[in-house]
């Protein structure tokens, strides 16, 4: 277990070899990681196109996106596993583009753990310290400390294959942190674990985050709950590009694109046409969705006739028993027919086909509420504060 009892250790983030000039204290601590227009291409395919990204010291940024979105490539470029075909990579304000992984001093934790199978656990953790030719006593002390931090001190003399997946990932984290990295990169660290273990490890990673306040972390994942739990900011990636970056609350409540709305929180998107002039900045706009009038938060300026999309998250809908003759003037109410009902333990998830609009929406019915059955007519309504307009431009 990653202990939560210990006090944060200041020594963690201090690099073994200081990269700043001795005695020079800059006014602004430089960003731990900075990517400037970084591209990676393999032959004719572009894996990463012009990524700009800044991670401050002590900050956790999650790279979130579907597979093939370029998030892992971005991480490999930071680690030095891939050399970018364009752009610069800076660590602590120092240009490291073109240097080898060994010169960067970054901790890397990957999905497959990548432990050295022929070495015992303590030798795995000591590997980076031996490469730095530290005195033996110092290595032994540091290995012990790291193994205690991840609760693996009893397994020091085992081989990696004698451990479970979660235990192996703990060792991988200890090994990466043993070298006191300035930056810790995590590439889908929990994806190889089963669901209950994943939830447990997520809590431990959260505790670890508190223990290491000065380390910058870049966390690659396709799982939005991991990103929402751990990240200070989330960078949503799509098709080798950065779609949008912001705090979790920003992206969740005010997504700037249809893709983000759908990927982060699984919003349903409905085509809409503006009927009013709004200046943007979160004022309420009136739009027509099919023949129905809806009021929604407009983060951007709109004029009558402008097209946009209405994004509503599954839990924002309220389900009322429906009647076919619902009046079109009732604001934010859409008639529909229940297509399917899925029991998910904590509640039910409905797929509802809207009547008059050829769209299907996802609706979460909280536990203990009445649940319709497939084929029922319902009326869906949503509080305008939880209905957000996103640009119509690109449909995911």
């Amino acid at each position: 277990m990653l202990s939560t009892k210990k006090k944060p250790r200041r020594t963690h983030a201090a690099p073994l070899r200081p990269t700043q000039g001795s005695g020079v204290v800059p006014d602004h601590p430089p960003n731990a990681v900075e990517l400037r227009n970084v591209s990676v291409t393999y032959g004719t395919t572009t894996a990463l196109a012009g990524l700009d990204l800044v991670v401050a010291c002590g900050e956790t940024v999650a790279l979130l996106g579907p597979s093939g979105s370029g998030k892992s490539t971005a991480l490999k470029a930071i680690a030095g596993f891939e050399q970018p075909s364009g752009g610069r990579i800076l660590l602590d304000g120092e240009d490291v583009t073109g240097t080898s992984p060994a010169q960067r001093g970054i901790g890397v934790v990957v999905q497959s753990y990548a432990l050295f199978p022929h070495m015992r656990i303590d030798a795995n953790v000591a590997y980076g310290l031996k490469a730095r030719k530290l005195p033996k006593a110092q290595i032994a002390a540091r290995v012990k400390l790291m193994l205690e931090m991840v609760g693996m001190e009893d397994h020091a003399h085992k081989l990696p294959r004698q451990l479970s997946g979660g235990q192996q990932q703990r060792v991988a984290i200890a090994r990466a942190l043993a070298i006191k990295p300035r930056v810790l990169l995590l590439d889908e660290p929990l994806s190889a674990l089963d669901a209950s273990l994943r939830a447990e490890m997520l809590i431990e990673l959260q505790a670890l985050r508190v223990e290491l306040p000065e380390i910058a972390m870049v966390y690659v994942t396709h799982d939005q709950s991991e990103a929402l739990t751990l990240a200070d900011r989330i960078a949503v990636m799509r098709n080798a590009r950065l779609e949008e970056i912001g705090t979790a609350a920003q992206l969740y409540d005010r997504p700037a694109s249809a893709f983000t709305a759908k990927f982060l929180g699984g919003a349903s998107l409905l085509p809409a046409v503006s009927t009013t002039v709004v200046s943007g900045a979160g004022t309420l706009a009136s739009v027509m969705v099919g023949a129905h009038r809806m009021r929604a938060v407009a983060p951007f300026a709109l004029f009558p006739g402008d097209r946009a999309k209405v994004a509503v998250r599954p839990h924002a809908w309220q389900v009322l028993p429906g009647s076919p003759e619902i009046s079109a003037s009732t604001v934010n109410s859409l008639p529909g027919r229940v297509e399917s009902v899925q029991w998910r333990g904590a509640g039910h998830r409905l797929q509802v086909d809207l009547i008059g609009i050829a769209e299907r929406v996802t609706v979460d019915v909280p536990a203990l509420s009445p649940v319709p059955t497939p084929g029922d007519l319902v009326v869906l309504s949503a509080d305008p504060a939880h209905v957000v307009l996103v640009p119509a431009g690109d449909t995911p």
Partner: protein
């Protein structure tokens, strides 16, 4: 196999046993019997003797055995060294790249060419200065190296390609230099394959005749060449005794290798 009936399964196993007995068992058995035969005029040999075996282990023939062992050892180690080096290079390139396709083709070529052709080729290539190897020990070692290179390359490169590419990268990210990653991570992980390749190469070299008989100098006669010349002269019983010695030594060498291999995979 989808054979559920017990009788069908027995029949299939029976056929396999008969085929193996005829192809492998019979020649071995006859060799064994001939090695101890004083004469063989009837169905079975008569006048059993240890004379042939004694001759095979006498000073003259024993030197052929030592020559064989030395040649096989040098050639195998050289082939495994080169094969491992090439496999490491090829593994760092993507499997579909031109580099790995070319290296696959080049290293597999000697296996496709008959050994006699390899011998003839070496003889023609190295019979004139500045590279005059004809009549030296090195041309024998070179011929055997060339012939087993393909096997050692493919054994090691299969293991190298199957390895998790993130493991050496993780080692590098921990601050290890390229050389350190090679010596402490990449080679130790390939060690089982390297040992297996060495065993295979040794076994093949111990029995190599086709190319060796083309290039060997009179001072460096391997055991298979001795067996061939004895057979050619009609001294079948002596040839059989020498064959027994060759088999015993090869099996012993392979047993040692298997023991080493067991130790490397246990780690």
């Amino acid at each position: 196999m989808l054979l559920h009936a017990k009788s069908t399964r027995l029949t299939v196993w029976g056929f396999l046993a008969v085929a193996l007995l005829l192809l492998v068992g019979a020649p071995l058995l006859v060799t064994f019997m001939a090695a101890f035969a004083g004469s063989w005029n009837g169905v079975l040999p008569s006048n059993p003797t240890l004379g042939h075996l004694g001759g095979a282990l006498a000073a003259d023939n024993l030197s052929a055995l030592i020559v064989s062992l030395q040649t096989a050892l040098f050639a195998s180690l050289l082939a495994v060294f080169l094969g491992t080096w090439a496999a490491l290079c090829a593994a760092s390139a993507p499997a579909s790249s031109t580099v790995s396709k070319v290296s696959d083709a080049v290293f597999h070529l000697p296996a496709a060419v008959p050994s006699v052709v390899v011998g003839l080729g070496l003889l023609t290539a190295f019979s004139k200065p500045p590279l005059l190897l004809n009549g030296t020990v090195s041309i024998v070692i070179l011929a055997q190296t060339l012939l087993v290179l393909a096997f050692s390359y493919s054994t090691v490169s299969a293991a190298a390609r199957g390895a998790d590419p993130l493991i050496p990268l993780a080692a590098a990210s921990l601050g290890a230099s390229r050389l350190r990653v090679l010596l402490t991570i990449r080679l130790p992980l390939l060690l089982p394959a390297i040992v297996a390749a060495t065993g295979l190469a040794l076994a093949l070299c111990m029995g190599e005749l086709g190319a060796t008989v083309m290039v060997y100098p009179a001072s460096w006669r391997t055991l298979p060449v001795t067996i061939f010349t004895l057979t050619d002269r009609g001294a079948l019983f002596d040839a059989s005794a020498n064959t027994l010695v060759l088999i015993a030594v090869t099996v012993a060498v392979l047993a040692v290798i298997a023991k080493v291999k067991g130790r490397t995979t246990l780690r």
